[in-house]
């Protein structure tokens, strides 16, 4: 416990990690900030590596790190190719304990989702190019609600609903309600996956 500030508990660090991991990985400050929180939470060194044309990353056994392990790797693979990884390392004489094993397990999918987006360079994230409000209204369209019903449900006027939809259609390049829903929700479960 070399660097444990009393003000920063495991819960605070977990919160910081899940929040940072949900952010845009193209933000240059996000990577170092995320690594710093992982280092604090797990009292170890955290190194982020992103594969590119000159650097290939090898798939490594990453699951079930129980026992006296000093290296834990969180990797994100796409079609068998490792896109990016975080290596967590401790000194040989001081292996990870049960506590850290649980914590790594807990943060793993969050960090993996972040690595996935980092590796994808922000492409095809299932995040449509429409505003949150437009998305919300399209969700209700998707449930089969009419503009009038949507207006009533959200306490806004029917004209406002129509305006939001017109803008959404334009951004999505859609000409009909059904077309817009098809474009905004290309594959329900997958767009959800991209966020978790």
């Amino acid at each position: 416990m070399t660097d444990e500030r009393s003000s920063t508990s495991a819960i605070d660090l977990l919160r910081a990690i899940t929040t940072l991991a949900a952010k845009d990985p193209q933000d240059a400050a996000a990577g170092p900030a995320l690594m710093a929180r992982l280092e604090r939470l797990l009292t170890c060194q955290a190194v982020l590596t992103v594969a590119d044309d000159t650097l290939r990353l090898m798939p490594r056994q990453v699951s079930d790190v129980a026992g006296a392990s000093t290296v834990v790797v969180i990797q994100e693979q796409l079609d068998g190719v490792v896109q990016a990884e975080v290596e967590l390392r401790r000194e040989p004489e001081w292996p990870f304990g049960d506590r850290e094993v649980v914590l790594v397990d807990l943060v793993r999918p969050h960090v993996m989702a972040w690595l996935r987006r980092l590796g994808a360079h922000g492409e095809g994230l299932g995040a449509p190019a429409i505003t949150q409000r437009q998305f919300e209204i399209l969700s209700l369209v998707r449930c089969g609600l009419s503009n009038k019903e949507i207006g009533r449900a959200l306490s806004i006027s029917e004209a406002t609903v129509r305006k939001h939809l017109e803008n959404a259609f334009e951004r999505l390049g859609a000409v009909s309600r059904a077309g817009a829903v098809g474009a905004a929700f290309p594959a329900d479960s997958r767009s959800d996956e991209a966020h978790v």
């Binding site: 508990s9 899940t18 506590r99 649980v102 943060v107 949150q132 998707r142 059904a178 829903v181 098809g182």
Partner: protein
């Protein structure tokens, strides 16, 4: 103070919860969910906990598995969910503006508590509370499962303090882990159930591209009336009311195929 730190007991519970959530766990799904509910209740501290699926269009509950006061409870599969429970109309009338519909509105997994949305006085006066829920706070971890349907862990507290930083952080951390088990229990193979003809599929794909009935008819060499007839048949089989509903059901079927 204990609000910010994790005790050895917390770590034990977390380890068991992560273990139960693993896709290759040997126990049957229903048993795992019950064990999961018990563990989550112990970790979070609450008066009962349930896994439910709600349908915002038909305004009903399509799945319910609960743990309360040491008792396990499994709702019938097609339960029309507390339909005669007092205040349920208030709940559904306010649905689209309440935090309960967040997974449906945002299309993503969500962790939220009522009291992180409502202030104390606001909550005490809210009809959702006074007419229906009657709780101090409720924690929601929700996953959209289909158009207007979402599965959710509902974790109410009848007395004591509202949920804080600790509970929200833990459930948010666990949210992606619990997802596979939620889907396995709430809709085992349900997405692939509706059977529609090849012609109906062809027409629905054209609808999803934004084509009108007339355009579809022209490209397939059939009349507009026939297109309409095919669509009516498809709506009935898919159990939807509109073109949009049909497209959504189709897209969720394709994505899991």
């Amino acid at each position: 103070m204990s609000d910010r730190s994790l005790t050895p007991r917390d770590f034990g519970l977390l380890r068991d919860i992560l273990e139960l959530s693993k896709p290759d766990h040997p126990e049957p799904v229903q048993e795992r969910v019950f064990q999961l509910l018990e563990h989550l209740a112990a970790l979070i501290g609450c008066d009962g906990i349930s896994l439910q699926e709600l349908d915002s269009v038909r305004r009903c509950r399509t799945y319910c598995q609960a743990y309360e006061d040491g008792e396990r409870w499994l709702g019938p599969p097609d339960d029309v969910g507390g339909q005669d429970q007092p205040g349920v109309d208030v709940f559904w009338d306010g649905w689209w503006t309440s935090p309960c519909s967040l997974p449906d509105r945002t299309g993503t997994s969500v962790t939220a508590s009522l009291r992180s949305v409502y202030g104390e006085r606001e909550w005490l006066r809210s009809p959702l509370n006074t007419e229906y829920l009657h709780v101090v706070d409720e924690l929601l971890v929700g996953y959209p499962t289909s158009a207007g349907q979402s599965a959710r862990f509902l974790i109410p507290r009848d007395h004591g303090a509202e949920f804080g930083h600790r509970e929200l952080t833990l459930m948010e951390g666990l949210m992606p882990h619990l997802r596979p088990l939620v889907f396995e229990s709430v809709r085992p193979g349900r997405l692939s159930r509706p059977r529609i003809t090849r012609r109906q599929q062809e027409i629905l794909r054209a609808v999803a591209r934004g084509q009108t009935n007339r355009e579809i008819g022209r490209s397939l060499g059939i009349s507009e009336a026939t297109v309409r007839k095919h669509l009516e048949g498809a709506y009935q089989r898919l159990g939807v009311l509109s073109r949009t509903g049909a497209v959504t059901v189709m897209s969720s079927m394709n994505s899991t195929a």
